[in-house]
Symmetry: C2
Subunit: 378 residues, 2 copies
């Protein structure tokens, strides 16, 4: 009987390898050492050259450790989420031994997390977790159904409290999944709430591309290749349709009606959206976060959405926002846009928080800005 | 001014390539032709040999179309979701031009959909979509918090109707995301509901591995490599803790208390779970679906969960289930298990629906079984 069981197990194990190819254990997923060094290994027996492309760094040659495995150990890396891929004889390839991948527009890459400091907020910790939903809503203004991602904090379902809500907007090339995937928004919120550094809140992540209903692959267009180029973007239409999103959230979630419990923030194009949505609805948002925000109107500068920014900001700042937070990296190509906006704010003596970081237009900054903003917004 | 705008655009476009590497358009994602043929193309200039690994088929050599691009056009393929990868000089690699990937245990692969027939149910169509949530709940029995995926049908939020609920269980090596990702459960439900072939229903997809709280990467263990090998599995503990899941769903969703509006189904290990959970709770489920189900107790045959199956089934069938549905492929290694179960049912003259398909222990069968089951369960 025991033998039969063993045979049954063997049969199962063998057949299951049909579900999943037998795993190559000679290479292995990257090993993150305690001191922050990371050992990358790739099995590529017939390769002549293997490079490691780690984040935005230059590609580095790996060393052939034996007949088949190529290896590279980095110096100690700063705690951070790092994307990487390999380049084998000129071919970009993912790591077969690491199932953790994320998409940036039309590029899928592996990632690892070097723990410690700020990066500990990006890790899943042993704390209560909020729920994450992909939710369809009606947009009467855009005459279509659209999808948003929604984070509800731990305990949300149990209580009937009225929660603060943050509308968190993605950048050009992104969609409603970007802040969850690359932004680690759910992990950051879980961890800050657990540490008592942020109040439990709902985070609403809509899709800011008015010409798509949802992220690529989740629409009737099928498995299309995602693109930066949208037929319609930054022309005022997303800002004008934003009331549909607020209406839906107000009707379907336990959210506070108090302006000080309503915030909006976004990165790049999402910062542009946050700037103009909040300026055009001066009584709606108590806190505003502009992360590497575009400022200059792009495709439809004559739109009522974009006209008279300074006089709109005047009304908004007369209402005394709880927080007006601007973050940008020293090397960001949108620095001049942000200087222009800050000049307007400065010359009117309107109070805002300015956070200048290292680096440029990149997710490591935006994750960090979100971590800062969540602690101050409510 | 116009020139400035153009310059700003150029600067933006160039800098944005920092967010995303410039896309190689010389290869390109697979092209699915109208007749079902598919052209695969991979840019691999320095490769000596490139193979296409399509689903479970043998690897096929691709042809060097020019200096850098390798090409293969298949014969007309049956409508289906197909996974694939390339093998370049012995190295398994994903398609850099196709962002659509899915994980099967510890293997990430690209996929395409050849439309038509049953596969049209797996595509996102222009129909109302349900919402999908990842939801944490308390399991007092297992003394931990755990995660489930929940599909709610279009219109769920608006009404206060009481919906039928299907508990849909994954197989060994899977987790709460498997039915959504590989099973296309949300697309299948959306499409069948839109066609009037299935009643709007809630689908609850719990995690059947009692030694993990949630899918790999979503727990404090971090970015671990997923595995088939669980410390604890098929030992009765998941079945015993299932009441926690029903309790949570009953409390938090608009579900009917009518037994005929409650179904349970699962694939492989999930079929095993569905078999024993429903047999041990004979008054709970009106419909039961066993997809390539394991039947023979594995790790703890003496458990009260697994003892006296026949007398438990007797009580269950005395209650006249609306549907007892068994599906399995001709080549499935669990065929003998299923024959054993059917012998019990046959000799007692208990009514069940038997669906024997081509193929073996594979997702193309399970997607199809789900499509059948949803039309009959409620």
């Amino acid at each position: 009987m025991k033998q039969q069981l063993i045979l049954a197990f063997l049969a199962m194990a063998l057949t299951m390898s049909g579900q999943e190819e037998l795993r190559n254990t000679a290479g292995g997923a990257p090993v993150v050492h305690n001191d922050g060094r990371v050992t990358f290994a790739l099995k590529a027996p017939r390769a002549r050259q293997v490079l490691l492309a780690l984040d935005n760094n230059r590609e580095q040659p790996m060393t052939q450790a034996n007949d088949s495995v190529w290896i590279l150990t980095t110096p100690a890396l700063k705690p951070e989420l790092y994307r990487y891929h390999y380049v084998v004889d000129g071919l970009k390839t993912l790591d077969n031994d690491n199932v953790y991948v994320m998409r940036d527009v039309s590029t899928v890459r592996n990632y690892i997390i070097v723990p410690g400091a700020a990066a500990d907020l990006y890790r899943v910790q042993d704390v209560p977790h909020g729920n994450v939903s992909l939710v369809w809503y009606d947009s009467p203004t855009l005459k279509t159904r659209r999808r948003m991602a929604v984070y509800t904090p731990p305990g949300y379902d149990a209580g009937r409290s009225y929660y603060p809500v943050l509308y968190l907007l993605h950048g050009s090339g992104g969609d409603e999944t970007a802040w969850l995937e690359q932004g680690r928004a759910a992990q950051i919120a879980d961890n800050l709430i657990a540490q008592g550094k942020a109040n439990p809140m709902i985070i609403v992540m809509p899709n800011g591309n008015v010409d798509e209903q949802a992220a690529p692959g989740s629409t009737p267009e099928g498995l299309i290749t995602p693109t930066f180029n949208h037929k319609q973007w930054m022309d005022g239409s997303f800002e004008q349709s934003f009331g549909d999103i607020i209406d839906f959230v107000t009707k379907n979630y336990h959210v506070s009606n108090n302006k000080r419990k309503r915030a909006i923030a976004g990165l790049s194009m999402g910062g542009y959206h946050a700037l103009y949505i909040s300026a055009n609805r001066p009584e709606t948002f108590g806190s505003v976060g502009l992360f590497s925000a575009a400022v200059t109107p792009r495709n439809n500068p004559g739109s009522t959405v974009y006209r008279d920014l300074e006089s709109k900001l005047k009304v908004q700042f007369n209402e005394r926002p709880k927080l007006y937070w601007i973050g940008i990296g020293k090397e960001d190509f949108l620095m001049s846009d942000n200087l222009k906006l800050r000049e307007i704010l400065d010359r009117n003596h309107w109070r805002y928080t300015y956070h200048e970081s290292e680096g440029g237009h990149e997710w490591r900054n935006w994750r960090n800005y979100l971590s800062e903003f969540l602690q101050l917004a409510f």
